[in-house]
Chain length 501, copies 2
Amino acid sequence: MVLEVNVKNISLSTYERIAIISKDIADKINVRAGDRIKVRTNSKGEIYIVEIDENNEFIDSSTIAIPKKYSIFKDGEKVRIRTAPHPKSKEVIKKKMQGFELNHEEIRMFVEDVYRNRLSRVEIASYLTSVQINGMSIKETISLTKEMYKYGETLSWPWHWKIVDKHSIGGIAGNRTTPIIVSIVASAGLKIPKTSSRSITSPAGTADTVEVLANVEFSAEEIKRIVKKTNGCMVWGGALDLAPVDDKLIRVEKPLDLDPEGQVIASILSKKKSVGSKYVLIDIPYGDEAKITNFNKAKMLAKKFKIVGAHIGMVVESIITKGHEPIGNGVGPVLEMIDILNVLYGKGPKDLREKSLEMAGIILELTGKGSYDTAKEILDRGKAFKKFKEIIHEQNGSLARDLYNMLGTYTYEVTAEQDGVVERISNNTIVEIAKRAGAPSFKGAGVYLYKKLGDKVRKGDVIFKIYAESERKLDYALEVMNEQKPYFITKKKTYILAEII
Amino acid sequence: MVLEVNVKNISLSTYERIAIISKDIADKINVRAGDRIKVRTNSKGEIYIVEIDENNEFIDSSTIAIPKKYSIFKDGEKVRIRTAPHPKSKEVIKKKMQGFELNHEEIRMFVEDVYRNRLSRVEIASYLTSVQINGMSIKETISLTKEMYKYGETLSWPWHWKIVDKHSIGGIAGNRTTPIIVSIVASAGLKIPKTSSRSITSPAGTADTVEVLANVEFSAEEIKRIVKKTNGCMVWGGALDLAPVDDKLIRVEKPLDLDPEGQVIASILSKKKSVGSKYVLIDIPYGDEAKITNFNKAKMLAKKFKIVGAHIGMVVESIITKGHEPIGNGVGPVLEMIDILNVLYGKGPKDLREKSLEMAGIILELTGKGSYDTAKEILDRGKAFKKFKEIIHEQNGSLARDLYNMLGTYTYEVTAEQDGVVERISNNTIVEIAKRAGAPSFKGAGVYLYKKLGDKVRKGDVIFKIYAESERKLDYALEVMNEQKPYFITKKKTYILAEII
């Protein structure tokens, strides 16, 4: 049975993609709350999960209310509604649950159904849990990457450009190598249209940090203009619609705290493909509090990145790096930007400087543009800093901002209770303190680490300092230390543990 | 941050347990759509998933709108709201996903969180998928059964009563032994407060079928009265709140088509425990279209039922029965009731009669009240029929109804295209035809099978007849046969393949 009703776009924010219809409409098309309906005009259609207004409290019987965010219809537009058929990929989810390998066609169907919103979040949760438990073969990962790449916006560039990119698997506080690497490789003549994420669960994403100085939200056209002018950019990927399927999956992965490996590879590489990258360096931090806790798993992951990359025409290299402590001294957008600027000035935290140089060096080698030494020269001669300024300028930003003035004024210095050597720093505890202090929504909040792994400390030395948005947030941040210890004791440090080519 | 608002109970039916707050309230307590909030007064509290009215289109900023079905508050009641902490059992779900066995305390936490609505349906979906893939140990199943039994209504009886019960794993059309077994064992002096389900995905549940003649919705007090008077009842379990946790889990299992074994055992036995059963016979139909398709799995399942039963003080026996074709001739509420009455009259389909007698016989043996022969005598002497009438009478029903007059008048007879012997009947296809014809919501719809496995047929013989609610539904039912064949060819039949004691 098909019924005609009028659309009312409402400003309700919901987790599930719902639409509200009245009780008698629901009865006529024989649906119950939670069922799927198809809503369409002659030219377009969309699928929603039904909520039912049993007493016409919100809408009358000739109306369907659709949250604006999910609506593709105009207010008052006449639409036909009927029950939606079961999406074909329900069988695909079942097959994955049973432990079978999916073929390309099945993955194509699943990705299309996610894109077209034919699956409920409950069904997607079941799929992701199945993938988390049963894993994904290389073949499946390749298919998934190719299919996810099909949807969403893409950037295209002159065919002879060497588009390079880098990505860090994440999880390590202060790991803000991107602005430094972008500045070095762009200065060396490579093209790096770098899109980054904002923080989801960390005290700062690269986009949050760059935003301390410049705008990070640009359209595809604007990005092209910036990259054509400066060879690089440092923008927020979320402003583009690069990976609509991935975005929908992430909305379910996050609350469940899921991160299935095959999904991670497909997510990263399909996005890199969308921005046109040809050479990609992946940073896989490994450590007991990093996302990857096992060295052999990190190696396996690096290999998979390489193979999947090859299948989509991309040269992908990975490095496994030490993820045992935050990188740099600052944790939080402004504090991280201070570190970055210091490195670009030729000073700054040694670990951030070295990691950035080594990564930039590998990218230069991959593309025949040089090596670590080239990167070092570009940095030390101030060329990287000049390039950084250029890009910031093109992103409507300026270096004239007084960063120290942006820092939270509610501060607390944590001091050493005894002499010794820093043996262990809990990345997670530092992250938690910085977030509670107000990062990243308040950019000046965070933690500044005066001591890193292997540093000698004397009783009374300041180990780290908390910058909070308010007194309440400072108290809240300090409470963490009642339960988790941020600092312990040690010996020496090296950064890149292995380089996988 | 805690805020005070007024409750407005709304008549919105939703799949997720949501509550709607305004944008500025959401900002103040720092929640986004899909987050959890705790809503409470001094004496009670409840958790909801947030939807946000961004523009105060539906509610003002001093109001929280809660669907009546999920509300524990009065209209206008003042409540405090704040973000809800992450439920502890999120870690439990993760552990299960990683393949570890859960201990009793973890299962207790999970069940409590489900009961208190602390978990979203997306989280429950992830748990159920994990259990489906990783399975559940006997220990876990015992813990789950005990914990699920803790919540919801219970029936209590004089301590010396021998409360018996039976349950069929389901999936076989027409498998309506319950009214016959209840009548026999109640007549033998045993107490059988039988609660049954309505159809969820089949053309008729026992409750739908009994409802053809009598009322099936009674309170716990009324059930006690009926059983005290007649020794038995045949009511709809859904009218009682026997298994609130199971009900919440089933709301997620159904759309995902999940049926994890440990969950099934815990669900059945905790409910049996709630109604006070001490001796339970489980019918496990096995066949290529039954829920259990593998004989050894059926045996394993029977053993698990026995062990878990023993741990909650219940004697549980199982029989593995042939589930290769529908039981009886009728499929659909009225047609099945006609079969039942015919058996009680001493006639009726032989398979339904024999299966009921064998099962009743086992229950009589278990309780020292007799055997198959006792059951046969009770049936053949008309005592079971008399008991059946008594119970129907107590349930405000009557046998005076003209069942044939209730049948759908839009009918179609399917005839044999050639001579032969019925070799295979597709249970699923018959089920689909009966449902499309209008069963169970229209009680007179269904399929009547004139030929069963092993029957000889001649070209032109009527094999089965469809009774539909309307011409449109009849056409819709007939369409099934374009895709799936309901009937094929064969040899002989036996019912109980094995009896597991």
